[in-house]
Amino acid sequence: MNSSQAQAELSTFAATVLHVMETAVFALADEAEDPTEAQLLDAIAVGIDLGKDMQSRIEIAGPLELFAELAADMMGADVEEISPEQAADFLSELANMIAGRWATDALGDQAEVALGIPEPIAMNDDVWEARLGIPGCFVFTVNDHYLIVDLAPRLA
């Protein structure tokens, strides 16, 4: 893959994330102007593998509070009613939706992709901070929070 193809695929990936956020939870997300400024306070993370025709993996991290807010929106509940387990469940489903959409967006609907089951990742701030600003690691702002979505292996 040359650099322009990789750049095009990365743009598609960012668009996929924005589409999922808007459709699933009516949340307007924007790409952060300076990804390196992302804060990771009280964050949780999840990873999902994409196998068969697409050997890739997506990892997502963000504050528990953000996922509680988005889960509340999706479930029609007040954020105070959302437990940490429900917020984490929402994050797993978000990863599932982004991975499934991205697989088809990138490879077309004739490809065979085997999605893994989203698995929680132990949060390591140093690891995530080292990724910020690297192509393939996207930082979005949603509801005044940072959402980090990392596509690996990186395409660029």
Binding site: T23, F90, E93, N96, M97, T104, D109, L115, I117
Partner: protein
């Protein structure tokens, strides 16, 4: 609508979202049942009285594809229509499922209107 619907998804958030949308569509919440895996769904289906299954594909324990195949192989369950609700858009996989009792496919993420539309179509024709 007085249909009895089984919602199968490992995500409790998604099950709640689907149940809420069904309720907003006029379906009595008492007629909507939940299962977190294909295995749980088969247990619930064995009790009878389900008119339609809405199932995810990508689930631990027993996935939606296995659930559809088990239902198709059962004389008691093969007549129950199934709608797939999944993030996956792979046509080869979906075409295999559409040869069984699967009558529709809705791709996640979906809007409440999209769910209502496919249910109205399938419940009328099933």
């Amino acid at each position: 609508m007085s249909h009895r619907i089984l919602v199968v998804d490992d995500s409790a958030t998604t099950r709640t979202y689907v149940k809420r949308t069904l309720a907003l569509s006029g379906l009595d919440p008492k007629h909507v049942f939940e299962a977190a895996s294909g295995r749980e769904a088969l247990d619930r289906l064995s009790q009878g009285d389900i008119d339609l299954v809405l199932t995810d594909l990508n689930m631990p324990e027993m996935d939606g594809g296995s659930l559809v195949r088990e239902m198709a192989a059962s004389p008691q369950l093969s007549f129950i229509p199934v709608i797939i609700i999944s993030t996956e858009g792979s046509k080869p996989k979906l075409e295999k499922l559409l040869r069984s009792s699967v009558v529709g496919f809705l791709r996640k993420p979906f809007t409440p209107e999209q769910l209502r539309d496919i249910l109205q179509t399938r419940l009328v024709t099933s």
